[in-house]
Structures are given as C-alpha cells and as structure tokens.
C-alpha cells in the first residue's frame, strides 16, 4: 500500500499532464481539436497544424512541464533540507536573487536569453548561499531562515526598484514581465535549459533521496547511521539550487510552484521523505494548468503565468495560515 499509492498518484498526475498538454496545444487563436493535435504529434498533421503545434505551442508546453518539474523537485529538496514546509527557493531568497541577476543583465548589459539565464543562475545561487550562511549557527533553524530570507529579499528588492527606476521605460517593462515569470513566446532554447536540468538533476535527486530521509531525522542520528552529514547536505543544496536555477532561467521567477507542489504531493501520496518525483510531476501539472488559465482567463490579453501562480499560491498560504487547525510551519 505504502509503495503502491505514490505510483498510482504519479500515474494519474502524468495522465493529467498529458491531457492538459493536448488541450493546451489545441488552444489559442487558431483552435485545433484534440484529435488533430494527436495526429500532428505522431506526424500525420497538415503543414498548418505542424507549424502551429510543433513550432509555436509545443516549446511553450514543454517549457511549462520542465520548469514545473524542476521547481517542484527543488522545493521538495528545500523543504526536506530545512525540515520546514516553507523552505522553498522563494523564502530563502533564491528567487529575488535570481531576479536581481536577471535584471542586471536586462537593464545594465542589455543581454539576450543566454545572458539573462546566466544572470539569474548566478544571482540566485549567491543570494541563497548568503541567506544560508547568515542563518547558519550550528544549524539553519527554520524561523531564522525565514526572517533572514526576508531581510536579504528586502535588500535585493530595493536594488530591483532602483534598477527599474533608472531604466528606460521599454527595458523596464520587459524586465517587469520577466520578474513576474512568464511562458509567453518560449522557444526550443528555453526547453533545452529547463529540460536538461530535469534530465540530469532529477536522477541525482533520486539517488540522494535516501540520505535526505536520514538527514530529516537530525544530524546526530544521521551521523550515527554513517551518513557524512555536511557532504550530503551540500550535495542536496547544490541539486536543489541547480533545479531552481534552471527553472527560473527558462521562465523567470514563477512564484509558489516550488512551495506548493511538494505540499500538495505529500498530501496526495501520504509518503514520507522528500517525495521528489511526485513533487516534480505535481509541479509540472500545476504550472501547465496555471499557464492555460493565464492564457484563457482574460483572453485575448495574455497574462504572465506568474500572476496566476502568485494569486493561487498566496491564497493557498493564507488558507494554510488561517484555516487549518494547526500550522506545522510556525512550529518548525
């Protein structure tokens, strides 16, 4: 039962992803029936559907799936590491750091896709490292991590505000769109960035899952069981930051997927441990559905997907705080 349930949940979520993907590929200014989408995917479409589905819409859908999976898995590792359901790249300052790095590239350097992605990865990694080092006093206590995260984010937000005010209005609006996290006009380049991280780092995360589970029991216990604690922790952090970095580089700082996906996955599978793969699949489904909502909610206006995830995620956090009987987050 304990091993069957996660597999069944994972299977159902994968099926959901596939179904939503077919709907998303058929949705837009030029609607295509699900049958038409499937025919196009297996190579039996018309030149028109080939162009629309394969060249225009497929990169966007694949980017959504890969970014969602990367963020979901990253959040699962962060939450396991910090032993705190709120330990996500949002809270530890990674996201704001990545935003600052990307903005420096967009506004000061005027860079393209590769430079912006690089800026996001470097900025996010530096910020996460700074928060972790500042909060570390023997152990990175949950509350301290949250509050130091708030402090570092406030500092970086001030820098972002300053950059936005200084910039030319066109650059500033491009930067603001990036800041919200968007899947509009994604290319195969974005798919490669996010997809390669998932392909390479998700297996690594799986290999590390056993160690993460033991680390959750506390450093003392882990040492007694023969786990090299600091090395295992560093490997986990590097993997989690790598996944978050790739996701952010491809889609911008999409809020809350990394926070909510692992929590939803845990509820669905009821499994212990970091739950990496179910979280990744949940994240992929969450982002794909959010992107469909973002495209259709105020059509023809295309919202950036980050607007939808921020609203959904904020509402979810409010519900966690106010309406659940006991919030584990605050006692962690």
């Amino acid at each position: 039962m304990r091993t069957v349930r996660p597999a069944v949940v994972g299977g159902i979520l994968l099926a959901l992803c596939a179904a939503v993907a077919v709907v998303a590929l058929g949705t837009g200014d030029y609607p295509i029936s699900p049958g038409g989408v499937l025919r196009t995917l297996v190579g039996a479409g018309t030149p028109a559907t080939d162009y629309i589905v394969l060249d225009l819409r497929l990169p966007r859908v694949l980017t959504a799936l890969a970014v969602g999976a990367a963020l979901g898995a990253s959040g699962a590792l962060f939450q396991s590491l910090t032993r705190n359901p709120l330990g996500s790249p949002d809270v530890v300052g990674f996201t704001t750091g990545a935003s600052t790095g990307a903005l420096v590239m967009i506004i000061l350097v005027g860079g393209g896709l590769a430079q912006v992605a690089l800026g996001a990865i470097v900025g996010g990694t530096l910020a996460a490292a700074a928060v972790y080092v500042l909060a570390y006093r023997g152990e990175a206590h949950g509350d301290r991590l949250v509050i130091i995260g708030v402090g570092v984010q406030a500092l970086l937000s001030a820098a972002i505000t300053y950059l936005l005010v200084r910039a030319d209005i066109v650059d500033a609006q491009r930067a603001a769109l990036w800041l919200m996290g968007s899947l509009n006009a994604r290319s195969w380049g974005h798919v490669v960035i996010a997809g390669s991280a998932v392909v390479v780092l998700l297996p690594v995360a799986l290999l590390l899952a056993q160690r993460a589970l033991i680390l959750e029991m506390g450093d003392e216990t882990a040492r007694a069981l023969g786990v090299p604690v600091e090395r295992a922790r560093l490997a986990l952090i590097a993997t989690a930051v790598g996944l978050a970095a790739a996701g952010t580089a491809a889609a911008g700082p999409v809020a809350f997927v990394a926070l909510a996906a692992p929590q939803l996955a845990r509820r669905l599978t009821r499994a212990s441990g970091p739950n990496t793969v179910p979280s990744a699949v949940t994240g992929a489904a969450l982002l794909l559905v959010s992107d469909l909502v973002a495209q259709r909610a105020l059509a023809p206006t295309q919202l950036p997907v980050g607007v939808v995830t921020a609203c959904l995620g904020g509402a979810y956090l409010i519900w966690l705080l106010g309406w659940r009987r006991r919030v584990r987050a605050t006692t962690a």
Binding site: R137, R144, L155, G314, T330
Partner: protein
Amino acid sequence: MTGTAARRLLLGMVGAVVALAAVTATSIAVGSKSIPLGTVVTAMTSYNGTLDDHVIVHDLRLPRTLLGLAVGAALGLAGTLIQALTRNPLADPGILGINEGAALGVVVSVAVTGLTSPLGYIWFAFAGAAVSAVMVYAVGARGREGASPVRLVLAGIAFTYVLHGITFAILLTDTAAFDRWRNWSAGSLAAADPDALMGVLPFLAVGALLALALSRSLNALALGDEAGQALGVHRGRTRLLGAVAVTLLCGAATAAAGPIGFVGLMVPYLARMITGPDYRWLLPYSLVLAPILVLGADILGRVLARPSEIGVGVITAFVGAPLLIAMVRRRGRLPQL
C-alpha cells in the same frame, strides 16, 4: 523611574530635538544643485520668486523636507505602536503587506481613473493600505497561537504575493500606470506636493495624537493581558484604537511618499536601547528619531547620485535590512518584547 534617569532621558530628548533641527536645516541647504548657504537663508527669510535658487529652496526643498518630517514621524510612531500591540519586533509596514496594498491602490487609480497627480491617487493608496493591513492582521491573528511574529510575517508574505500578482496584471497592460508605479515604489520625497501634504496631514495628526495618548495603556498592556486588566486598562479598546492609529499613520505616510521600509523597524529598536520599555518615553523618542533617519536617508540619496538621486526607500532598505539580519544573527533569534 528615578529622578536622575528621568533627567537623563529628558536631556537625551533635548539632544535628539537639536539633532533633528540640524538635519532639517541640512535638508533645506543641501541638494543636487549647490546653493550657497547665504542664498538659502535669504530664500527662507526674504523670498524672491524671480530667482531660480530661491524657487528651488522654497518650492522644492522646503515641501520635501516638511514631507520627510511628517512621514518620518508617522512611520516611527506607527512602528513602535505595532511592536507594542503585536509584541512583534518585526512589525513594519513593508513586511506587513501595507505597501503592496497601497501600490495596488496607486495602480488601480492610474489605470482606471487616469489620475496621475499624487493628490488624485493618494486616497486610493490610503484605502488599499488600510484594507490590506486589516486583512493581514486578521489572518495572522487567527489560530491558537495568535499573532506570533512569524505568523504575521507569513500572512504579510502571502498577501504581498496576491496583491503583487494583481498589481502586475494591471501594470503589464498599462504603460502609464507602470511608469507611475515604478517611481512611486522607490519611496521618494522628491515629488512632494504641498497640497498632497496638507491632504494627509490631518490623518497623520489624529494618528499621532491617538498614539501618544495610548502610551499609558500600552505600558499596562506590556505587563501582560491579565495584569493590564487588573490595572483597569481595557485591552480590546486599546488594541482597536492602536490599530486605528497604525492604519492612519502608515496608510497616510505610504500614500504620500511611497513605501519607505525599515524606518518603523529600526527606530523603535534604537529608541528602546535608549529609553528602555517605558512607552511614555519610547513613543516621543520614536517621534523625534524617525524623521532624523528619513531626512538623513533622503539627503544621502540626493548627494550620492548627483545630479540624479536615489529614492529614500531604497536607502532605508540598504541600511535597515543589514540591521535586521545582524539583529537576528546576534541574538540567534528575534528579540522578545
């Protein structure tokens, strides 16, 4: 309190007022354009509207300095008040979601009504700030533990995300609103408009008087809820009046000058190091120390980036955030109140 301690605090207060006067004078005398001190003095004493330098001093620097004084005093008082009411050292309008509520108000007013003068959007900002403050507190105070520091911060983060999402959805479709928003959100005294200042001044004054009048009740409340009640303090009424004062002070200040973070967090902390826990001293000290910080930050912003300038909110964040981090690191946790 012994007589010598009271005399020491009174003396300190005189010193703080002198420092405030000095910063105020500096704020009028110093700016992007160097104007000789003699000209500044004559601009104040015998104003001549045909001289450029006189116009700069009289019509730009003076309103700006007055706005800094008013906003600083409001944020300092509000910070002390929030900390007293929630016993939460992290209480700051930035962290509690008030800024994001006011930002949404600004964006909605520019996008929907096309108002672009501060006088037009100030009321929307005020309403947005008030609504979001009430919601964050309501959610943060739910549950068994009540409004614990971390719960309030998390509620603030949650509402900030939702409001931010809505704000951006509007901003991305409206370039005029975007331009207004990015300048407003840097927290600047530069656009000081005497009419806007006069508009919010009544709210600030009522809020300040209410805050100062509560100092005795807050002292009793600090002893714990039961002891406070035994001393005849009505707990619910004190909390409600305090919350009204906070909303008036923060909402009006943020509406007038944009989000200026960390003043409400730093000043009560510094004031408490001088005065100890007595709110009859703590509130007046915050009232005087906070404008020193705001005007000081504003002067720094004008001087650092000559001939352009850096918003005062950016400077206070760059000073305040490291202080917050140092505070949490040194004690290993948040200071308890």
